[in-house]
Symmetry: C2
Subunit: 415 residues, 2 copies
């Protein structure tokens, strides 16, 4: 990763992007005291301190495509800068855990891609670490895309349907999406898999009453943990770190987003009599339609320098809480001894991870059914290896594996 290579097409456009790119330090600019109080000091401090000691990542120009895909508002610029910042800080911290190449540690490999052959419509910057000492497979991807959303895809994308009207004469809904998405599969079965995602969507639809174009945007995302064995200290640490980040923005947020996470990451097809499904993991937070804002396109343009406001402040804190929530859990287990049976159980759990992502996950389904989406980036979430046995027996109830299964079937409170 330290020697990341910009592919030709992206390099050519970097100069264009640089003209509008916001320096990362200015992203999520304190809009006064509130944000300052909500920053995750540990992470910011460690990222800042680490920077001079290492070869820097390439300039954090957002991986935009052609000139017509540059951000058009402070809200978009800020979110693009945030997702690039998170990609940088998370990859850097994970490489620290992975360890030096001389000890067998692998680096992230970067590749940038453009949507369509000419880069109109945006692109992405993928960073993947495969076959590492600590990570079997880890992907941390940024994407920024613009396009037209077919009505069917729009339905699948939204957690809660809102009436959206296609502009008379148009093919669908013009949209803009920016996000960072990561899935980390450690090799050691005692070390949990983690997933996080932070994104903003904007859609243009039509106000049939006023007869004008309407702008609508909102944030979605979250972080969740998928261990193969239950470790209650891990669960409490992960959840309480996320809760602290949420609580700064309102005490109602964590309980709602924790419950939403348990509801969303649920393999309902694995329900047994007496429960409503088997959760993918022990949860975390999940939110969608956050900071949902609607106004006429004309008003949105006039207010384009206002930024994402309090909703964006929350997204910054939630995103920056990922590393302090996960890294201590990861580090505790990365060199823990394990047996072949532990590995087999991890592989069976990986099978469940694949089931959730391919059968239920809205983001994956959206990608698989959107023409022109980049399949490698979507399926980087799948583990390197997975296993399915017919009628595999449940582990003993009093084992860490059995306690995990119980927590997946009946989610608990951890913070």
């Amino acid at each position: 990763m330290r020697h990341a290579r910009l592919v030709g097409a992206f390099a050519r456009r970097a100069a264009v992007a640089a003209a509008v790119a916001v320096p990362i330090t200015a992203a999520c600019e304190p809009e006064p005291a509130q944000l300052r109080a909500t920053q995750a000091p540990v992470l910011c401090a460690s990222a800042a301190a680490a920077a001079p000691a290492k070869p820097a990542f390439p300039p954090p120009a957002p991986p935009v495509g052609a000139p017509d895909t540059v951000p058009t508002s402070k809200r978009q610029r800020d979110m693009e800068a945030l997702v690039c910042e998170l990609q940088d800080s998370i990859c850097s911290a994970l490489e620290d855990v992975e360890g030096a190449p001389s000890r067998g540690g692998k680096r992230f490999q970067e590749d940038t891609w453009l949507r369509g052959s000419d880069g109109h419509g945006g692109g992405g910057r993928s960073r993947v670490l495969q076959g590492g000492r600590v990570f079997e497979k880890a992907g941390v991807n940024v994407s920024i895309v613009r396009g037209v959303l077919p009505a069917a895809a729009a339905r699948q994308m939204r957690a809660r349907g809102k009436d959206m009207t296609v502009r008379p004469g148009a093919d669908g809904l013009p949209f803009y999406a920016v996000g960072v998405s990561l899935v980390l599969h450690p090799r050691n079965p005692k070390a949990p898999t983690a997933h996080a995602n932070f994104r903003m969507f904007e859609v243009r639809d039509w106000d049939p009453v006023e007869g004008c174009e309407r702008a609508r945007w909102w944030y979605g995302g979250g972080s969740d943990l998928t261990p193969s064995f239950l470790d209650e200290d891990d669960a409490r640490h992960f959840h309480s770190t996320l809760k602290a980040a949420c609580d700064k923005h309102g005490s109602e947020l964590y309980p709602e987003f924790k419950r939403w996470c348990d509801e969303y990451f649920n393999n309902t097809h694995r329900a047994l009599p007496g429960d409503d499904g088997e959760r993918r993991g022990i949860g975390g937070i999940f939110y969608d339609d956050f900071g949902d804002t609607v106004m006429s396109a004309k008003e949105a343009e006039e207010r384009s320098e206002e930024g994402g406001g309090k909703a964006f402040d929350f997204v910054c804190d939630a995103g920056r809480a990922f590393l302090p929530a996960y890294i201590p859990v990861l580090v505790r287990h990365v060199d823990e001894p394990f047996t072949e049976e532990d590995k087999r159980w991890q592989q069976l759990r990986r099978g469940r991870y694949v089931e959730f992502n391919l059968v239920h996950d809205r983001g994956t389904k959206f990608g698989l059914h959107t023409p022109g989406s980049r399949i490698e980036s979507i399926l980087v979430s799948l583990p390197e290896t997975a296993r399915w046995e017919y009628q595999a027996e449940d582990p003993p109830k009093d084992s860490a594996a059995g306690r995990l299964l119980e927590a997946l079937r009946r989610p608990r409170e951890w913070a």
Copy 2:
């Protein structure tokens, strides 16, 4: 398998079932010369000859549930007997290839299951061989179920929508489904995976013009081959054996069903510029809505002893062609040497198999979204192990793996 155990509930109902069960030898009874000419003599002869030499399978009583789930027509009895016959003959032939337990060969393990706690609604008989010498995982399942189909599930089930009207006051469409389904994953990467399925559906809907209940039934199924390496002799043998079975019933069938198979088993989300997707395998035959018949429920009752006619004759031949199509291919490769790289490539192909089954397969989606369906039987189709790498490179074009990939992207004619 030889010492298959009938679970309690099934055993209690076996006596009821026996009263209506058709002896297997009488199934698909020649309804004159036509069928006699179309029987697959090799398979029937070998099955008959093998029977006395081995401990017999348990009596082929269809795994029906409570008394209200017994077949109500010759058409249903015949199909139930056919699927049980195919399950027996296929398991027996596969155990022969697997080899004697003294040489490390495994046997099929049988379990029977009832739908719902009381067996109302039918059940199934699953036979699974795991961790064998030849087979990593092989499942051959019979199921016979009755229920009420929610309108949404009805839509997903049908390849080509037909207007079906729910009887006024009813919750959905009463249905009956009988089928045998098998997926065989050999251990050796040079030996292809095979899949086959033979089923009949019946639905009762409402004729809004005549104001009466209407009966509708049809057959679906097929066989297809999924190698990891292209062997043209295998492809020709597999396809020409299926073609010969089809040709007895009309020369138009094989070309249509071969094309349908290529269209259906297609990972469209893996399309590259210039192709329309990556087929799961090198195809075979696939058919649905075959012998589609509609009449008033009253007429159907009056004609209940007529059987499935020519459509059923075809299904018998297609089903009995599976073993002669697959076994020679399997036997040729089962002890072939292979490298670690061959195994890795097989595991990546297994990943694609999982993708197709979880993302696209209508039968799997139908099962995953039907309350009360038996998840273990549905997901027995998944391989024991699978692998995903980010941006795995294509194998060289002039290798057997590269030639396979080319045939998956641009299906060829083999017979």
